[in-house]
Structures are given as structure tokens and as C-alpha cells.
Symmetry: C2
Subunit: 323 residues, 2 copies
Amino acid sequence: MLPVALDAMGGDRAPGEMVAGARQAVADHGVPVVLVGRPEELGDTGGVAVIPASEVIGMDDDPGQGVRTKKDSSLVRAAEAVRDGRASAMVSAGNTGAAMASALLRMGRLKGIARPAIATPIPNLGSTPTVLLDSGANAECNVTMLVQFARMGSAYASLRYGIAEPRVALLSIGEEKSKGTPLVREVHSALAGDETLNFSGNVEGRDLLHGAADVVVTDGFTGNVALKCLEGSLRFFMETLMRVLRADDEVARAGNVVLDRLAPVAAELDPEGTGGAMLLGVDGVCVISHGSSSARAIVSALRVAHDLAGAGLVARLASAVSS
Amino acid sequence: MLPVALDAMGGDRAPGEMVAGARQAVADHGVPVVLVGRPEELGDTGGVAVIPASEVIGMDDDPGQGVRTKKDSSLVRAAEAVRDGRASAMVSAGNTGAAMASALLRMGRLKGIARPAIATPIPNLGSTPTVLLDSGANAECNVTMLVQFARMGSAYASLRYGIAEPRVALLSIGEEKSKGTPLVREVHSALAGDETLNFSGNVEGRDLLHGAADVVVTDGFTGNVALKCLEGSLRFFMETLMRVLRADDEVARAGNVVLDRLAPVAAELDPEGTGGAMLLGVDGVCVISHGSSSARAIVSALRVAHDLAGAGLVARLASAVSS
């Protein structure tokens, strides 16, 4: 099978962790990978092939401008590798907006899709993650877009997590269908009448970590705020816990016992294990990993990208939206 | 000074915890209180006066219909007591929508205010809370409303927490002024040009628990989702921690040490200590306490309502918006 193209220059810990992740994915999991970036900066790739790209779109660069002006950037070249049939999928931990723009401009939109969306898995304890989309691609959405997100999210959760009929919910500010903005109410009606979906109604922000649905649909503004609230509060809680546990020797001894027991729970919730977010609705598989991704996160992302490309994700999404 | 009117029938734990809270506020803090509700259901009020009201708007009742049809409800009578100069403020832990509707319909809007907003304090460790508004009154907002929310929020934070020039931020999906919906971008410009405000730019969802601003402005849909994400994730984390700490005797012993040390932190973050949310923009002081409020939460709410009424909150809000 074709290799997964990994943007070797993207992310806070590039290229070191990118190259390490690529080598591990090849050696430990048999995932074919091709690195995309500046060969002279990659060090020993352990035999992993490289597609040379001389430019880098920085984390703070303007996405549209970056993609337009840096035609030999690692992100643009990775997307072109997928377009040209030299890679099965692309993975980047770099500038999210630029990854989206590269994928959209080089691979193109999937036929019939109004706009692609970012689908982010929110870990649940003891069950499959909840897929939140759109988690930031489109600040403004209309009914057509949100219904397509629901269908793409459902097809994605089904393929990725093996859920026969994923429970699809709409993010709102109350369970009743009368709650929310006029747009949300209209989308509620459309989803309720969509026979291709297992629509379970509205969920609220407090339900997102409680596995209330397999797929949660929202616009990219609300989705991004919600996701960052969850990330921020979990980080806040962990930091606060660690600070308290290191206050003195007595609590540190007790803390070690507690932390040993919390470790498996923390591992289940660790975003590094989820494989990253997926850009759904472009004509190719595109995984967007967290900017702070380690080699471990990159291995997860490469495996997910490889598996979903092999399982025919793009065709499944196209079929879900057109049916 | 006039008493604070407490809706004795509102909330999951009414009337028991309401009456207990009223008695404590009077006895321990010298806050004058009048209970509003069904006298025969209140038990021993310990001498706290009662304004009789024969009806109750339930937690799940439609707010508008409840206020229209239940004219002798505790919520409507509490709002009328403020309007008629028999109470300095109202406090309710009942149906939030009905509390808003009662306050709005009986007290009226504050002159010059397009729409009232719910301002919710988000606790911060080691500093004053961040005031989030609108946290749910208006699912859809326009520029005028959001600028007024910023001004009201600033005046409120200043009066309540003694902050000379509260840092006011706008909730968006990136720090740059180009981020967000067209509405958010337009509001950013308006706030940046508002010389009455100490505007510090955009914040993201992950900043809300980190004290990045004194006031965070957003529409009531996004604000409600954000607040419930924070509440939900903190509850999730506490529940998960407690479950792990009770798994067996060894961890339980260590857990007791850890929980002792966490207790002061948990107390700082406890929403029961914040005094509840405030409906800003009606012609009177209206505190909306959490539906699950205990007597302790009600004492906080009554004290805050009493203090802010005495400090002239309503006049300050009117002045902030008209200047």
C-alpha cells in the first residue's frame, strides 16, 4: 500500500519527534511512511524515504497566505503527494489552518460537500471516543453544512470505531428541540427527519465528557470553544492536582500511591493516544495532530491515517453525504 | 434597608434549603430577608417574614408560559416585591428562564439596555473570579448587545470585586482580531475602540479557568456551552478521582491525605461560594442561584444581592451603558 505522507516540519517538536514517530510507525507497526521536509534537517531517518520540500509554513503564519506563497512547503507537498497518488494520506502537527488550506486547495473538496469539517475525538472512559465536529474549520455554518457534518461524522465513527449506528447528537443549550439559536433549531428538525442517521437529540456542554453520544455536531466556533474549554479544564485540574501533591513530603508519599492508580485513567484520556483530528470532506485522508505532538502521538496519527485510507474512508464519506 | 426577596419554592432542594439559607443569612450575617412562597410548606421560618404566593413555576415549565399563567407564583411575586419597593433584590434557585422572564416583565429593562444578560462568576485560584456573560440569556446577539454586555460586565466586576479597571476580553477561537465569526470580529473592533473599557483582546476557551481576564464577553449560546463544558469537566474529574481513591484500602488511606490537601482548593472552586449568577440589565437586582443550591449557596446569594443592591449596582450599570 502507498505510504502516509508526514509533514516532517510541522509542530512545536518538529522535526525530531516527527522523524522518531515515522521510524517507530514503520518499525513497530509496519505502517509505510514518507517524510516531507528539508532532508538536511531531518537527521537519520532510519531508511524512511523523504519527499524534499524547502519551505516551512510556521505555526503563526497566515494559513491562506502561507499556502499561496510557499508552494514548496512541506504541508503543500504532502497534500500534493496524496493528490498525485504517491501517498495514501497526509498527517501534520503543524499550523492547523494551513493544513486545512493545503488539503482543500491541493486535494480538493469531496464531491457534493459544501465545506470540510474538523472531527476531533474526545476520549471517554471505558468506551469509544465522542467525535466532535466541526471543531474549528468553519466559524460560521448553515443548515446544509451541519447536516453534512452529521452524516460525515456518523460514517467516520462507524468506520473508525466499528459502531453500527452511531448516536448522533446536536450541541445546544438545553435538551428540548426549542432550545438554541434559530439555526440550531432548524438543524435539529433536519437531523430528526434524516433517515440515514441515528439522531438522539440535543446534548449540552456538560455531556461531552460523559459519552452521551458517539458524534456531536456543532459549528466550528462553538466546537472550538467547547474543545478548548475541555482541554483547558483538564489541564487546569491536572496541574492543580500535581501542585498539591508536591507541596511536601507527607502528601508526596500519598500522592505517589494515588498517581499510580490514576495513570491508567490518564492514559485513557490522553489526547496523544487518539490519533488526532481528521479533516473530513476533502478528497483524501488528512489527519491534523496536536501542535505539541510527541513521537507517540505521531505514531497514533500515522496508524489511524493508514488504517482509514485502507478502509476507504473517503468513499464512505462521499456515499454518506450523497445518499 | 429593605429585605432581599427569596423565592422559597425554586430549586431542586426547595423549600427546605431555601428556608435554612434565609434563616442563616439573617442570624449570622444580618442580611434582611423575606421569603416568597406557600406559607404552609415553609415550616419554621424562625421569624423570617413571608410574602405569600400560591403557585410554583416548576424547573421544567416553559418560562414564558409559566410567568404569563402563574401570576401568583413565588417567582413573579418576588419580582413584584422589588418593583414595588418592598424588597431590595430578588434571589431564586428555580427555573432560570422563568426567573429571567419574571424579572424582565415585572421590573422592566434598564433604560438604554437592549437585552439583559446572565453574568456568571467562574472561580479562579488565588484571585477574583472571571465574570462570563452572557452565559445563557440570549442565544443570539448583535454588536450593540455584546458591547453593552462588556460595559455592564466591567461595571459589575468593578463594584463586586473592587477592580479599578477590569480587564475585559472577548471569547473567540484565536487571539488574533481576525479570528471568529463576522459578528465576533465586529465586536472586537467596537470593544477596542471603546474608551470606557480596559479591553485586553480575545481569549480562548482554554483561558477561562486561568484568570486571563476579569470579564469575558460572548453570546448566550457560546457562553452557556462554555460554562457547561467547564462544569461538566470539573465534575467528571472529581468523580473520576473519587472513584479511583475508593478502589481499595491502600489507595483510600493515601487518598485521605490527598483529599485533606485538596479540600481548600476545592472550596475555592466551589460554585456554592460565589453567590450565583446575576441578571444584568433589568431594573433591579436579580441573583440566579444554581438549581441544586444548598442553604450555603443561598446564604452567599443573599449576601451578594444585599451588598450589591446597597452599593447601587443598577445605577452603576445604567451609567456604564449610557456613558
